[in-house]
């Protein structure tokens, strides 16, 4: 009796979590007519019209065609997220190594400061940063966003990869030195390969948070660099856009991350708690 009840409750809860996702995907394959029918039909014949419209950039609405460049926003998300994570990897991995290996002045203080960025209100930095960007010409640019995103992505890389470096024995690096490799080469051939899983986990998480970011792009960018998160909002409030197309836009904006998440499940728990908990 207990088991049966437990299963029932579990399924009920999961319906709450999964139905909304299922439904938005379903809506993206419906015509406007099908969407507007109430009660909602769970069985329907799907259409690709919405996706076609988004990809081609032309929406045939009731009032002529509308030029829409959602794909451009998707590419923006890609550029900014990959760029931010890439920069964080280049700067963060050596720093993670230094924190793991050396005891130097200000190490813990700086590490905590970096972490505190993760928990600080974004507008604290964003509003003055906007003023600076406008005067320096970084407003509405890719680099502007990539640099700003470091507040999000860098802490992940440093904190998670540091934990992995701590698990690598320094003796291994020394063995490589004795074998004739300079410091940098021994780092590259021995230390780095051994933290690959950590780097992957950190990069994955950083990418997810970068992709999902909203407020940074809202404040520091405009139509040129808007990622999908911000673009979808304006999409939704714009007039004349069909609901099916909106649904398709929503799906496109989450699909990459959902796929990544399913693929890389095991890294996520450790990363979510910033290394506090071993997944």
């Amino acid at each position: 009796m207990r088991k049966w009840l437990a299963h029932l409750v579990l399924i009920a809860i999961y319906l709450f979590f999964l139905l909304p996702l299922y439904w938005v995907v379903a809506m993206s394959f419906m015509t406007n007519q099908q969407i507007l029918t109430y009660p909602p039909q769970f069985a329907f014949s799907p259409t690709l019209a919405n996706y076609k419209a988004l990809v081609l950039g032309q929406l045939g609405g009731g009032v002529g065609t509308l030029q829409v460049d959602y794909l451009h926003n998707f590419v923006n998300s890609l550029i900014v997220s990959c760029g931010a994570v890439g920069l964080s990897l280049v700067a963060g991995i050596p720093a993670a190594y230094a924190l793991a290996r050396f005891r130097f002045r200000g190490a813990d203080n700086w590490a905590f400061t970096l972490l505190s960025f993760r928990f600080a209100p974004a507008l604290l930095i964003l509003i003055p940063l906007l003023q600076i960007y406008q005067s320096v010409g970084l407003y509405n640019t890719y680099w502007g966003l990539i640099l700003a995103y470091q507040l999000i992505t860098l802490p992940f890389i440093v904190w998670i990869v540091r934990g992995y470096f701590e698990d690598v024995s320094p003796e291994l690096e020394f063995a490589a030195r004795l074998d004739g490799y300079g410091w940098w080469r021994s780092f590259w051939h021995v230390s780095l390969p051994l933290v690959k899983p950590g780097v992957a986990a950190a990069a994955l998480l950083a990418f997810i948070y970068a992709w999902n970011n909203f407020i940074f792009a809202l404040v520091l960018g405009s139509s040129d660099v808007q990622p999908v998160t911000v673009a979808t909002l304006s999409f939704m409030t714009a007039s004349g856009i069909q609901y099916g197309v909106i649904a398709a836009a929503l799906v496109i904006s989450v699909v990459p991350i959902l796929l990544l998440a399913v693929y890389a499940q095991r890294f996520l728990v450790r990363g979510l708690s910033m290394g506090a908990i071993k997944g």
Binding site: L10, A91, V230
Partner: protein, 317 residues
């Protein structure tokens, strides 16, 4: 500087010894850590300047429409905030949001964690799916719910009709707006707590529970005296993460109602956003944000202290 790997021909060694002096290995080793962190430090330092700017704004009277006049006013902005009834409203909304969201997420998350901890065909299928809502961008999640609670065709409304609430106003009514955004928050972030607690449950040692069972302890007793205390580190970490996030929540509310209807959902960051971008009152905005920052900094300081201990405990012991 050519540093060849020497061979057994010690004559070459002589040549090396005669070469111009290079920085010693010891000296280089001393400077290495600083060199390694330099790029990251640069990236973090440049953030401090905007932070200082915010502080400066909050201590002056800076309205964007009158950029020429920026007199120093000391703590007056802070005074204004604390005596402003709207501020109290902001605090109230933020606290309500946080308490409601975190409480529901904790309870639901714990329930999920316990249910998923048993091994069965169902749980094996469901476990990997748990993470999906968490991966959705909060702003997007809000929009998904907005779309699906559309009074005309929303399928959520369809389910609501079963309890006679076909036209539940969701985000458009001041009475229900908070519930709506909390709902989105719960939808996205409950898996976070559930996953953390599940990881915690799975890492608990088996012996104490076996011993309790042998001693005939009941389920509730075991839960209260064994499970709960042992799960505490995980619970606290998860809860602190969520509290910090909820206090600063922006994306979900902005995407849903931009803070409305009226100012029903004006949490700290939303209010600050409004002050800065609609009213161009940069000083008030900055002061507001700094107050929020102090609160979150204090909480995160406590959390990191606790969590460093937890980290060592959970990793090593």
């Amino acid at each position: 500087m050519a540093r060849r790997v020497a061979t057994t021909n010690l004559q070459e060694g002589v040549a090396v010894a005669a070469a111009p002096p290079t920085p010693t290995a010891a000296a280089r080793a001393r400077w290495r850590p600083y060199l390694l962190v330099a790029p990251s430090i640069v990236l973090t330092i440049w953030v401090l300047y905007p932070f200082a700017q915010s502080v400066w704004y909050s201590l002056h009277h800076y309205v964007l429409s009158q950029p020429w006049s920026r007199p120093f006013v000391g703590l007056r902005n802070y005074q204004k905030i604390f005596t402003d009834p709207d501020f109290l409203h902001t605090v109230a909304v933020t606290l309500e949001y946080t308490l409601l969201a975190v409480a529901i997420e904790l309870l639901l998350g714990m329930l999920l964690a316990f249910l998923l901890n048993r091994d069965s065909l169902l749980t094996k299928i469901l476990r990997p799916l748990l993470i999906l809502p968490l991966m959705v961008a909060p702003a997007i999640g809000s929009l998904i719910w907005k779309l699906e609670t559309n009074p005309q065709f929303g399928f959520v409304n369809f389910f609501m009709s079963f309890i006679g609430q076909r036209y539940f106003p969701w985000g458009s009514s001041p009475r229900t707006a908070l519930l709506t955004v909390v709902l989105v928050d719960v939808w996205i972030f409950t898996p976070f707590i559930a996953l953390l607690l599940l990881a915690g449950l799975r890492s608990l040692p088996q012996q104490p529970f076996e011993a309790a069972r042998l001693d005939g302890a009941g389920a509730w007793f075991t839960f209260r005296t064994l499970t709960l205390p042992m799960l505490m580190p995980y619970i606290l970490i998860a809860v602190m993460f969520r509290i910090l996030d909820s206090l600063q929540q922006f994306d979900i509310i902005y995407a849903m109602t931009q803070g409305g209807p009226g100012d029903t959902l004006m949490t700290f960051q939303l209010r600050a956003y409004l002050e800065a971008f609609t009213f161009l009152r940069l000083s008030e905005s900055a002061a507001l944000i700094l107050v929020l920052w102090v609160i979150t900094y204090a909480i995160s300081y406590v959390m990191v202290r606790y969590w460093n201990r937890a980290r060592a405990h959970l990793r090593g012991a």
